[in-house]
Amino acid sequence: MSTSKMINGVPVQEHFKNAHHQFDTAKMGIWLFMATEILMFGGLFVGYAIFHMMYPEMFAEGARFLDWKLGFVNTLVLIFSSLTMALGIHFIQMNQIKKAVWALAITIVCGAIFMVIKYFEYTHKFHMGIFPGNLLDIAKLNEHLTAQGLDTVKSTNLGMYFGFYFCMSGLHGIHVIIGMGLITWCLIRAVRGDFNPNYYTAVEGVGIFWHIVDLVWIFLFPLLYLVG
């Protein structure tokens, strides 16, 4: 940072021609990172599609254990958080830093609400003996279902569905937590007065990351909760 000089409110590092050049370089880096994110989640989606094709009944049986209402609420929460994230950048562009700080704070709270709902979903499943892969305790799960007067599980490989469920929603959850950390960093920098309408590269980059978290959930919700 010692080699940067302030030009028009932008700390431009020496190896860049100007602020424009610096911003574009940072943006291309973020987009490259987003391409890798698409490929990371995409691999799981491809795996899901293939095994769903091979064992459709088992996947349908697994999806029965998910409550679409919780997934639905989480979808609304994440869309709202994406809106407030976008507004955070909008307010910095308009030089309304105080409003931007509020927008970022609300985004973090939405991320927290999402994770709390996820926590209740996960612990409820653990309580029923539902774990990923071989760890799934089918005897315990069937005991639970019989006690509630429900049909017992027919698929012996139900653990595979929950392997996908926990890996996909878990990886997504890790992204939400990392995103919340990054937004907190942006919020602190905004309070400190680092950003102005000419300089907000960090918020823009974190914003794109947060939107991709929303984007992945937009597909995970119908995939896991509705279609099954």
Partner: protein
């Protein structure tokens, strides 16, 4: 040295500012589409095999709205759009090769 001729560093049109009202409209559309997903889910027995297609078509529209307006791809340079699109293109390659492999083995020998 390049700045010595004193031209303005930040051009007024460099960062496109999306109006507040546009963000609100996009968010409203996203909420509406989420409710539409649930509405389609509640009548899935009438939709039959197209129910998943409907759900993913709606998700696709939502994804487009998020990418175009929230991620500012609408105002992004062509280079960056291509960089991001490459992720999806190689995902299609991965899907295509994997699915052909699985299906062809199942069709030829009946064993996966």
């Amino acid at each position: 040295m390049g700045h010595s001729h004193g031209h303005k560093e930040i051009l007024p049109d460099e960062h496109h500012i999306t109006p507040f009202s546009v963000y609100m409209k996009v968010a409203l559309a996203l909420f509406a589409l989420t409710f539409l997903t649930i509405a389609a889910h509640s009548v899935r027995q009438y939709l039959g095999p197209v129910a998943p297609l409907v759900a993913f078509a709606i998700a696709g529209v939502k994804a487009f709205l998020v990418m175009a307006w929230f991620m500012h791809l609408k105002y992004e340079s062509m280079e960056n759009r291509i960089v991001f699109a490459l992720g999806f293109i190689f995902l299609v390659v991965l899907f295509g090769i994997s699915i052909t492999d699985i299906l062809s083995r199942q069709l030829i020998s009946g064993v996966l």
